[in-house]
Point group: C2
Chain length 476, copies 2
Amino acid sequence: MFDKTVYIRRRRTLLDSMREKGQRGIILFVGNVDAPAQYKDNCYNFRQDSSWLYYFGLDEPRYGAVIDIDSGEEVVFADDVEIGDIIWMGPQPSVQSKAESVGVSKSAPYGALEGVVSKALSIGRPVHFLPPSRYYNTMKLASLTGLSHEAVGVVDFTAGKTEHASRELVESVIAMRLIKEECEIEELDAVGALGQEMHTVARNAVKPGVLEQHIVGLMEGVTLSKGWGVSFATILSQHGETLHNHLHDKIIEPGKLLVIDAGAESNSHYASDFTRTLPTGGKFTQKQRDVYQIVCDCNEFAFSITRPGITYREVHIETMRKMLEGLKALDLVRGSIDDMVTEGIAGLFCPHGLGHNMGLDVHDMEDLGENLVGYDPDQKRSSQLGLGSLRMARKLVPGHVITDEPGIYFIPALIDKWKAEGTGKGFVNFDKLKSYYDFGGIRLEDDVLVTPDGARRTGPNRLPIFPDDVEAAMAK
Amino acid sequence: MFDKTVYIRRRRTLLDSMREKGQRGIILFVGNVDAPAQYKDNCYNFRQDSSWLYYFGLDEPRYGAVIDIDSGEEVVFADDVEIGDIIWMGPQPSVQSKAESVGVSKSAPYGALEGVVSKALSIGRPVHFLPPSRYYNTMKLASLTGLSHEAVGVVDFTAGKTEHASRELVESVIAMRLIKEECEIEELDAVGALGQEMHTVARNAVKPGVLEQHIVGLMEGVTLSKGWGVSFATILSQHGETLHNHLHDKIIEPGKLLVIDAGAESNSHYASDFTRTLPTGGKFTQKQRDVYQIVCDCNEFAFSITRPGITYREVHIETMRKMLEGLKALDLVRGSIDDMVTEGIAGLFCPHGLGHNMGLDVHDMEDLGENLVGYDPDQKRSSQLGLGSLRMARKLVPGHVITDEPGIYFIPALIDKWKAEGTGKGFVNFDKLKSYYDFGGIRLEDDVLVTPDGARRTGPNRLPIFPDDVEAAMAK
């Protein structure tokens, strides 16, 4: 938790922003409750709502808050513990003292939230809330507002759809959380270090004969020892071409490429997110190295052009151009690079975007709507494979924290589909691609802070990325 | 997953049981979906519903099933993956083939569940379902049945309250899951071994100066390397008197008692649950050893009388008698042991029950109602502190798997409360207790299988429990 002045300032900025937009009424925040894994008393590790953490800092379940836009009054809602709870949970500070620790002077029982919201609604005052990110919050918001689940938004909320939640509130929150403050950058560097430690432990454990899950457990133990846990479900796969493979049931085989995409979440709930691709036996084959070098060049190139003023959409497109040049040199694609860029040919090899925003969430604020977070008002999302998956396209400004994660994958089902449909015809060398069907995939990812005069990578110890360095590190 | 014959047999037994109870209509099973931690694509490690796992085995999100009690027909509902999913998730077997792998011959899309349920309801056929254990399941069941959230049961379902869910179905499921099959006992022994490995790693790491969270991370890394993860949130605390302390932010200090209550969940989702209490510096003080020995004797005593025919309520009460004898020898209580047993004086020192059922859940089937799971129809739950928290009171039969976990705690807030209210007056030596206010707590827990001629502990390598053995293990 930061000093209370941080939260006071943030709430003040939010209030000013809503007033500048001509908004009236109340802002309703609903913090998370514990999420049962099996039953109500056996829950997953508690994870507070990120926007709640940003404005109120209190990292405990079953909190709510209201900010009155008109009067500026702030109230935190939660229940004090009773004697029965003290036996089980130990003595606890009062809700009032917790509220004061983040600069809120008024508190009330959790149940009182209902009366405050219904009173506001009964006299026609607008109630602004963020789209719910969990099923409980859907039920809670529906119950508080009298709206249906669909109206408040179920969790599988379509990106950018905020017609019932408050569009103005969503935009005000996004504008603030997108630009990281100094105190947040410190947290991001610290959790970068932890993520790098996870990867180092993993790299030291990779060798033929080891179960993938064994390495995953080692990595996750590192972040549980020093942080909250993983910032997302670890991807560790010898089938890197399967982008979201969360099974770890294979034995490491020699001669494969192992994609490890994993990050830490700190106790303060900031995220890191790194990907490295390792030769399972410690040495790349020439064929692996040729493709690896292209991805490595793309990662370096993207970083080199990341600076205030350029859009990340341009960085993505220029990086894909670089990738096509490399693939052309390997005779996997042919023809005019410009034409291939226009046609989105790189999407066959890299069907995801170059990167996403990071912060309190590894895909920062994805619950508020991907497009609202990642696209400027004048930007339209592409429907091309690859570019269409780009989660961050905005014009860069200092304080943006984003990932730089190009990848090349050989996905048999996708190659077959393109070939059958005639997509990429004349550009893609489908014949040569046949010998890559068992190649797998490569992704290389760093986390990047946009600075006033360019960019720097977060986390103190960049993980080895150049092929010789990777081999040297694995030989240790 | 077990062989398909296991699931076929279990569903057949369930069907027969419902028919024997004179039930008609359909049985509706709703498996779990992914639980978002921050947003819909960043979820906690998927945990399937335990009753679903028991009857259908398929360990993937967004499954449902219907068993028609009248015709015996079984259908599994889930969606096949599409090309877009294959790019991200890799090629997947069809739902039909998965259904067949657990002996169900018919499958349909997930969305078809709605029509099947509403058709049954429209012609007045009963729809039997289990109380939901997660918020999503509350919403899903409400949506399928047209009932309110409260009617299908919100997650914080009061123990034993099944007025809207099917009482007959709940009782049939409990009767089956309570008695572990051979294949389940193998799983429980295996996950016992993993839990014991967690504790061994922890014990080796305990020494003054180490952060509690560091040890927690090491333990959890072990179970993530070989299993699904922890079977519940690890308790590791130098304030053992706080029964559910999940903070791990303290440095290990010399001269303290460290309670470690933790268990593993296997990849097959069976649970283990062990508690050991370690002297942080490696040696007990005499004062610590005196209390420790009582708890150790209680653990041994409870095990020694655990056998078919006795109720676990009696085992609890007789163990509390043993505890009072020990406390009397330390002059912490005085007077007639029989009177103290009747008055529930042990509850001041051990405010929880002796144990609970175990299986696919660490508190097995707690989502189905604590009293229905843990109490025979002729048993009434006590309101006494301690005995009132006993989750398993039933007459024991071979195949029950339960925990044996006596504890002694010195809880200042509780002692003060009893003293102020006059509770335990004439029995409790409040003067002598003053010197125990900073003692902390001790709990010692094993997992026990009731066998035809007595009982045996599960897991192959019982963790050191006798004080000399604990000190010897810590000296290694």
